[in-house]
Subunit: 234 residues, 2 copies
DNA sequence: CCAAAAGTGTTAATCCTACACCCATGT
DNA sequence: ACATGGGTGTAGGATTAACACTTTTGG
């Protein structure tokens, strides 16, 4: 039964690119390591895949350990496995991006590290190839969000249209025409207007909306039919 | 320096979903294993990641070993790592889809297995979770091809418009209106018409085209700007 | 001469884009 | 009363979708 015994084994890690949105800008959650190696340096939150868990589970555990959150939207988005990418031995790392509402995140579960939100384009130097990981994750987020409405995962249960708009502007680093954007948003039937306003961010107040969950789940899951659109430019 | 010595190591494999197009239907290249374990059963082509190579390199090596082809379009598209997915020990497998022109593939390099093209929806039972891998790869191919013109990787250097059309029909399992499709294709400026016809597949003959390589490379690389399109349905 | 596949144009509907003003409120 | 941000409508242009006939040529 030992067919594979001559094959090399490797350490397998997962690293999480945790995106959050605070209502204004897109952020990532980084940790300052309290343990060796690379103590006191900033990095992504990660961990090793254990013998009794799949990589997805490992990523969920990592996220739980840092945030206390479960059932978070996560997606595998990269593989980093250059033989020399870490100095302490060969580690192949799988990256996952996670989308969380920053308001949900209240405290760190362990004290092996400090954690802090940073604007996605303005964060301290990171260890190893973690910067590349973020770059790849940002790209994956944009690609996915172009086809599926996953960015709602970053918003609280009740949110306002100006918030969604700011979120899309942050993710795509662009400015949107609010009239066009609002129209498109509403015409998607994804939003249900509530009889309540957010008066915190403006005097007039913006109506809260919640997701049409049934439709949302359909659209999240939904599968491409046909769209040869070469029209996208760089 | 042995910070990680208490962490578990695992076998890391790569499995390749090799898509090919023969001018009519979308195919995948499968092998009938000549060696244990699972001898004489059909499976994807795969191999273990070696100590001196990255997973991408391992995937390229696997592909080379099977087809003799290098510089093939490949993309990582899945991670399969349930602790019990293989009976012979724990193996985490990274999947890559590859796109090749079946005409380029002439012979197998080793004799450890038999290899054969199968229609993508009509192939023998596969070992382990290889069927899931194909499902995921098909989805990834559709998603990617919806945004980038990667399907040209499946075509020979000279190809006809009816061929591209058939390819898109195969990938998206749909029928296309050739007038609309042709117009869109031509308006992309990706194609350069040649003064030569393929008379093999029809009496009238279809003009050959080749890719406008400069533009193609731009578009392949190009990065999403902004397209919140929730309009895609399942 | 006929079967089989290639190639081509027009119209109506839809969607996208650009653009500017009024509204509600807290200070 | 005014500053701040929320909310709305329209018109022109571009893109898409639906539609059928002619061309070429090998057999």
């Amino acid at each position: 039964m030992d067919f594979y015994k001559s094959e090399p084994k490797t350490l397998l890690a997962v690293d999480c690119i945790i995106f959050g949105f605070d209502g204004e800008s897109l952020q990532i959650l980084l940790i300052k390591r309290g343990l060796e190696p690379e103590r006191n340096k900033w990095s992504l939150m990660g961990g090793f895949v254990q013998a009794d868990e799949s990589p997805e589970e490992a990523a969920s555990h990592v996220l739980f350990k840092l945030t206390g959150l479960e059932n978070v939207y996560m997606e595998q988005c990269g593989v980093f496995g250059n033989p020399n990418r870490e100095k302490y031995g060969r580690v192949v790392s799988l990256t996952y991006f996670a989308l969380i509402d920053t308001k949900q995140y209240t405290h760190i579960i362990t004290d092996e590290y400090e954690a802090k939100w940073f604007p996605v384009n303005k964060h301290p130097t990171l260890i190893f190839d973690h910067l590349d990981m973020i770059t790849v994750a940002k790209r994956a987020l944009r690609t996915k969000a172009a086809l599926y409405p996953i960015l709602f995962e970053l918003l609280p249960e009740k949110f306002t249209i100006p918030q969604i708009s700011a979120l899309y502007e942050a993710v795509y680093d662009t400015e949107l025409d609010k009239r066009n954007f609002n129209r498109k948003l509403l015409s998607s039937d994804l939003l249900i207007k509530l009889n309540e306003k957010d008066k915190e961010h403006s005097k007039k107040g913006a109506f809260y909306y919640k997701l049409n969950m049934d439709l949302y789940k359909e659209k999240i899951m939904s599968f491409l039919r046909y769209l040869p659109s070469w029209s996208i430019e760089g």
